[in-house]
């Protein structure tokens, strides 16, 4: 219905100004068809011509050009906006957006753009939509113009400010206006001082960059001093926030470490098996995610956003099954012989890697982020990325569930009994071999679930496990073998420490310093942060 009304309105508008509009359209069509010819270097001029001649009708064309969906037909060089559909590529007329049939990709050629053009297009779209009736369009236009330094836009922005009713759009416009005033130096001193105040209220990185540029070119000492003092105050604010930002980075690195290590905290920490194939359990989980996404992509594309929910239980089962088989097949013959266990599990890890390489190929596999896992939002002067937040939350949930399983369930009780005193537990009627196998499967299964999460931030390749195995052992040993809370605190401490070191020491040195710290720490407290006390220690 809405669309119908819009069409009628359009038709009426056309009827009212039919003659000049027809002329303008002809000119536009002419300019549009020129896009199909010529070199990339000639494009900026063509786009400015289009922007001058056009009105908001040209916006879809600009958007398509920027997104790379503007094509021309090889046969007659006619320009179309395209959309890929099930049976080929749908062509749409660039101005009216009417569908003009379906064709194959081979008969079309893309109109090339580069970053410079995309920037020009963004500004052009912003200029054209600044007075649009749609609030969200106006807002993004106002924000986009913050980067512009074209004084010609100032009158347009003034007009827009004059009409604007929405508070948030108004603020964005004022900020852009301030930025432009300072950049172009086309205003009175009072205007410039006002602009500095506006940017002070903004107080973020963007404002800082405008002010720094202004100070470098300002001629009036009064303005320069005002701007310099604002810069100092913004810097102070940002420095305070950067502490919070570092803590956040540290926690999110810690959560990744926790996820990678938590399965190992069970197999190594609780059972005492030095499992060098732990990383490969993580890898199996990541490849399970890849396969689930493949199936969903091919058969149920609508479910893509839920792919991780399907992958989690499957990854748990897949890695758990491999872990179970490993325990029954190899490790149970090697209890009490740590060196042999280490070598055997290392061998298993190499075999699993090469098996995955043979089956899936050596190259990275594409695991997509569902929509809710991408993007970021701002908190004060901090940027929190969505995937990190989810991973942090997921790590906490896994940790909590594991804690409950070990503390509150019959199975958990039996696990603890077996690891604390095997013979006594056996005498009480617990099937200790069975518990061993299940515990190992549980640890491996959790590693598999970690793989699902890590596939979202890392790449899925046969080498995935190797990236995390050292860190995992580090966390478990540091936290204290046999204590889940130790693993938790250990992971978070190492994460935060690493992130506070990184800005000063660089990523390479930060990693080395962390390792040195752990070595010294283990010298002092060989049993880690949270050492188990009592008889279990001696077993």
């Amino acid at each position: 219905m809405k669309r119908f009304i819009r069409h009628v309105a359009l038709l009426l508008a056309f009827a009212l100004c039919a003659v000049p509009a027809a002329q303008a359209d002809e000119e536009l069509t002419h300019l549009i068809s020129a896009l199909a010819n010529g070199k990339l270097k000639e494009m900026p001029a063509k786009i400015s011509a289009l922007e001058k001649a056009g009105n908001s009708k040209i916006v879809p064309l600009f958007e398509a050009l920027s997104a790379g969906t503007l094509f021309y037909r090889k046969a007659d060089k006619a320009v179309f906006i395209t959309r890929s559909s099930a049976d080929g590529i749908t062509l749409m007329a660039p101005l009216t957006l009417q569908e003009q049939g379906v064709t194959t990709k081979k008969s079309l050629k893309k109109i090339k753009v580069n970053n410079k053009l995309r920037r020009q297009l963004k500004t052009a779209i912003a200029n054209l939509t600044l007075l649009s009736p749609d609030v969200s369009l106006r807002l993004s236009a106002a924000k986009e113009l913050f980067k512009s330094s074209d004084p010609a836009v100032l009158p347009l922005l003034e007009e827009a400010l004059h009409q604007e009713s929405d508070a948030s759009v108004r603020q964005a416009m004022q900020e852009s206006y301030a930025a432009m005033t300072l950049r172009t130096q086309h205003a009175s001193q009072q205007h410039r001082l006002d602009a500095i105040e506006t940017l002070k209220a903004m107080g973020n990185q963007q404002a800082l960059s405008v002010l720094t540029g202004f100070v470098a070119s300002a001629s009036e000492p009064e303005e320069r001093d005002a701007a310099t003092s604002v810069i100092a105050s913004i810097n102070k604010r940002l420095a305070r926030w950067s502490v919070a930002q570092n803590v956040w980075y540290g926690l999110s690195l810690g959560s990744v470490l926790l996820l990678a290590a938590i399965g190992l905290a069970i197999t190594f920490g609780v059972m005492g098996v030095i499992n060098m194939a732990h990383g490969e359990m993580v890898m199996i989980g990541a490849y399970t995610t890849f396969m689930v996404q493949e199936v969903i992509r091919n058969s149920f594309p609508g479910l893509f956003d839920y792919s991780l929910a399907f992958a989690l239980p499957l990854a748990f089962l897949a890695s758990g099954a491999v872990g179970f088989a490993m325990e029954r097949g190899i490790i149970r013959f090697l209890y009490g012989r740590p060196l042999e266990t280490l070598l055997a599990t290392w061998g298993v890890s190499l075999m699993l890697q090469q098996a995955v390489r043979t089956v899936f190929g050596p190259t990275n596999k594409e695991v997509g982020n569902p929509d809710w896992m991408s993007g970021a939002f701002e908190l004060g002067a901090m940027t929190l990325t969505a995937n990190r937040i989810w991973i942090l939350a997921f790590a906490f949930v896994v940790f909590a569930v594991l804690l409950v399983v070990l503390r509150r369930t019959q199975f958990g009780l039996e696990v603890r009994a077996v690891t604390q005193n095997r013979r006594m537990a056996a005498s009480m009627g617990i099937r200790t071999p069975w518990i061993d196998a299940l515990t190992f499967a549980l640890g491996s299964g959790i590693a598999g679930m970690a793989g699902v999460a890590l596939s979202q931030i890392s790449n899925v390749s046969p080498n995935l496990g190797q990236l995390y195995i050292i860190d995992s052992f580090m966390v478990v040993v540091f936290g204290g073998v046999g204590n889940l809370w130790g693993t938790f605190v250990g992971a978070m401490t190492l994460g935060v420490a690493n992130k506070f070191l990184e800005p000063y020491a660089g990523a390479v040195l930060a990693k080395i310093l962390t390792l040195v710290f752990i070595i010294l720490f283990i010298q002092k407290k060989p049993r880690g942060l949270f050492a188990l006390k009592g008889r279990a220690v001696d077993l």
């Binding site: 580069n114 970053n115 990185q205 540029g213 190259t363 594409e366 991408s374 931030i457 390749s461 990523a507």
Partner: protein
């Protein structure tokens, strides 16, 4: 299921090659052996397996055309398993046991450095297909990948001219290629008048996966009001999390473009490229090059691998050029004798896939065009810039004071890889 049968047919074809190797060992006199020294397992298998396959394809095609000097070519594949000392061992095996006429192989610089003494001692020929840091020219090695002046410098020039970049982040993985390349770039940028405070140099460990702090630093560095770009020599697996973090923190290519020297079609095949659209890469070849030769090459490659989605990349083209150069040089010399071929190959020129001819220079580097491509959503590159002519590979960078005075020329009177033009003697300072 379709996937599985393809895998099976691949396995069968590998098996077939293995048996041909066995049977033809009996009639060794009638074949010319070609060694392939690429890792098929371990961390570098991700990149090198493809190069092994492309060599098998090139050899198969040459055999269909009647081989070389009327003899069939016989590939000898060994697996150095991403283990640098093993590279030297396997190279020795190829040269001493199998007596191959030429070897095509290696990816990392450290593996190349580890086989150099072997090739020198046993007098073999090595064709090295990967872009590298330069500062080397060896009699037995032919560098068909890009030297820094065929990749890094033109990329920086593009950013200065087209994006008006004034501030630079040089980000790399901590090993010899990024360190040397960044040293050259730093000297070059300084010669262009870039101040020290407008350069940020950052190194990360291999396989670095937590990029939050560094990306935030780049964002801060880039918000000083001057246009900023990142020149990335980040290697291998660390790229995916880096680009993902850039996308997540909302840095688009229009704000801060990243130009990479190690990201090609193969690497992009393993990731969702939509947040990367507009970021750049500099290579001497892209799959999207529109020439007939390239179309044929892609078709042959996809048919050989039985996979319509297999991509081609720059090091594959380097092998294509290197292999054809070797064939032509052998035919010119009329023998596979290494000394004669080394003499005859200088000056040989063969068609490359981007529509021109690449020639072997006296310094054992080749001439190539330099292309700048923007990443597209489908993981391919749109070529946005191209050097006017071919660029000759420079073994010794002109921008580093200690190597500016060195030249390499392996032709008869000079026959030296590091001739010092000041002291007029062979054996200048060799860095790294």
């Amino acid at each position: 299921m379709v996937h599985l049968t393809k895998k099976a047919s691949m396995a069968a074809s590998v098996g077939l090659i293995a048996t041909t190797v066995l049977t033809s060992a009996v009639q060794a006199a009638e074949t010319i052996k070609v060694g392939i020294l690429h890792s098929l397992s371990g961390t570098m298998a991700i990149s090198e397996t493809t190069l092994k396959d492309v060599m098998l394809m090139l050899i198969e095609e040459q055999n269909k055309k009647g081989g070389v000097l009327g003899k069939q070519l016989e590939p000898v594949v060994v697996d150095p398993a991403s283990d640098w000392p093993l590279f030297a061992e396997k190279a020795r095996e190829l040269l001493a046991v199998h007596k191959v006429s030429a070897v095509f192989g290696n990816w990392t610089s450290v593996s190349r450095k580890s086989v150099l003494p072997v090739f020198e001692e046993l007098n073999g020929m090595l064709f090295y297909p990967v872009q590298y840091e330069g500062e080397e020219s060896q009699r037995n090695v032919f560098y068909t990948g890009a030297a820094p002046n065929q990749q890094a410098i033109p990329a920086v020039d593009y950013l200065i001219e087209n994006e008006e970049v004034e501030r630079w982040v040089l980000a790399g993985t901590d090993y010899v290629y990024p360190r040397t390349t960044n040293k050259i770039l730093e000297a070059y940028l300084k010669s262009k008048g870039v101040a020290d405070e407008d350069m940020m140099i950052n190194y990360t460990p291999f396989g670095h996966s937590d990029w939050q702090t560094i990306v935030a630093d780049i964002k801060t560095f880039g918000s000083s009001g001057k246009k900023t770009a990142v020149v990335s020599t980040i290697n291998g697996d660390a790229n995916v999390p880096f680009y993902k973090e850039l996308g997540n923190q909302g840095i688009s290519a229009q704000d801060i473009p990243v130009v990479a020297f190690s990201v090609g079609e193969e690497e992009l095949a393993g990731l969702d490229a939509s947040p990367l659209v507009g970021h750049l890469a500099a290579w001497n070849y892209f799959q999207s090059v529109e020439t007939e030769a390239n179309e044929e090459f892609i078709e042959a490659w996809q048919e050989f691998t039985g996979d319509d989605n297999r991509v081609t990349n720059d090091p594959m083209e380097a092998h294509y050029i290197g292999f054809n150069m070797w064939v032509k040089a052998v035919e010119k010399a009329g023998t596979t004798d290494v000394d004669s071929v080394i003499d005859s190959i200088v000056g040989v020129s063969v068609p490359n896939l981007s529509g021109g001819y690449s020639a072997m220079m006296p310094n054992h580097h080749i001439t190539k065009p330099v292309l700048i491509g923007e990443i597209q959503e489908d993981g391919q590159f749109d070529i946005v810039d191209e050097t006017d002519g071919l660029v000759a590979g420079d073994a010794w960078s002109d921008y580093l004071p200690e190597s500016a005075k060195l030249i390499a020329d392996w032709r008869a009177p000079m026959a030296c890889g590091n001739f010092n033009v000041e002291t007029k003697s062979c054996g200048g300072v060799v860095s790294n």
